[in-house]
Amino acid sequence: VEDITMVLGAIIFIIILEIFLIRMRKNLFLIEKLSIWIFLSTLNQNLLDIAISNLNLLEITNSQQMFWASFFNRFLLIPFLIILFVDIFFALTSSVKKIILFVTWIVLLSIIDRAVMWVGILNYHKWETWWSLVGWLCILIATLGCRKFLHYLLLKGKVVA
């Protein structure tokens, strides 16, 4: 019953998030949203594999619910939040506002990291809070780089699909 509740909760959450993303200002095209989403999911997956298997910094809790919660967190929640960040970022014209947005999102994502630890989705062995801050800063910069690269490819592409 708990598993079903969790899956239903996750589905409802995703639907709400999707509606939010569809309804929000459309500064990004679908191809950009999809590419950024999958880029982030892949990046997160690789980083988590390294942190868990090679560096022993984290450990996934041995529970079905926590495993899937961790999966949804990295596969859906975090990428969607960062897509929202990119969407807002390119709509802003002032550098100060962009910096404020950066700081807000880094703090928000770091709070989610803490929440993930607090709820017990992941067990942190030797994790420091500032690693989250630096990590998210790098991931946000990488995402903006990915979007720039994709934009370059879109402008370069002349072949009809």
Partner: protein, 175 residues
């Protein structure tokens, strides 16, 4: 070390390396068919599916269905296999599917051919200790590949729709 090194550089590492070289040559030599952005998106999706499937099926919890390469750690060859080989393999499937306009009955034959090819490659990979099955066999792989190739076709359709949406609207939102 961010990536652990293989315990011993033997047949499984050679298999991954050979696959990498072959797929890179194929990718390099294939005439341009998709727009660059669509190629990029397709590669991201095919890489991601491989990584996600490995993560769900091969991690110690909950399934631990199989192990890849020498250790449970994420070594450099794990990275190459999941981030490059899987992606390029999927891309080649999608490339010829679209280039040859595979439709109707041919579609089933085309998918059946790729499933057979994938199962054969996986069989060779298990013989060369690239994969060690714990709670897995090739029958499960057969079913998985069916979904994987169906997913690739879906990715192609969504990718082309997304690219066309960009193409038709980009002039409105000049940046």
């Amino acid at each position: 070390m961010i990536f652990s090194t293989p315990v011993k550089f033997d047949e499984n590492e050679w298999f991954v390396l050979t696959g990498l070289i072959i797929f890179l040559i194929i990718f390099w030599r294939l005439p341009k068919h998709f727009p660059p952005a669509l190629t990029f998106m397709i590669l991201l999706f095919t890489v991601n599916l491989g990584i996600t499937a490995d993560y769900i099926l091969a991690t110690e919890f909950p399934f631990d269905a199989y192990d890849a390469l020498d250790t449970a750690k994420f070594d450099l060859f794990d990275f190459i296999m999941s981030n490059i080989n899987y992606g390029l393999f999927g891309y080649v499937f999608i490339y010829f599917y679209d280039k040859w306009h595979v439709r109707g009955l041919i579609r089933f034959l085309y998918i059946a051919f790729w499933i057979a090819l994938s199962v054969l490659m996986e069989f060779i990979a298990t013989k060369l200790n690239v994969f060690t099955y714990n709670d897995w066999n090739l029958r499960y792989s057969f079913i998985c590949y069916l979904f994987i190739f169906a997913y690739y076709i879906l990715v192609l359709k969504i990718g082309k729709a997304a690219f066309n949406q960009y193409k038709n609207n980009s002039f409105i939102r000049e940046r």
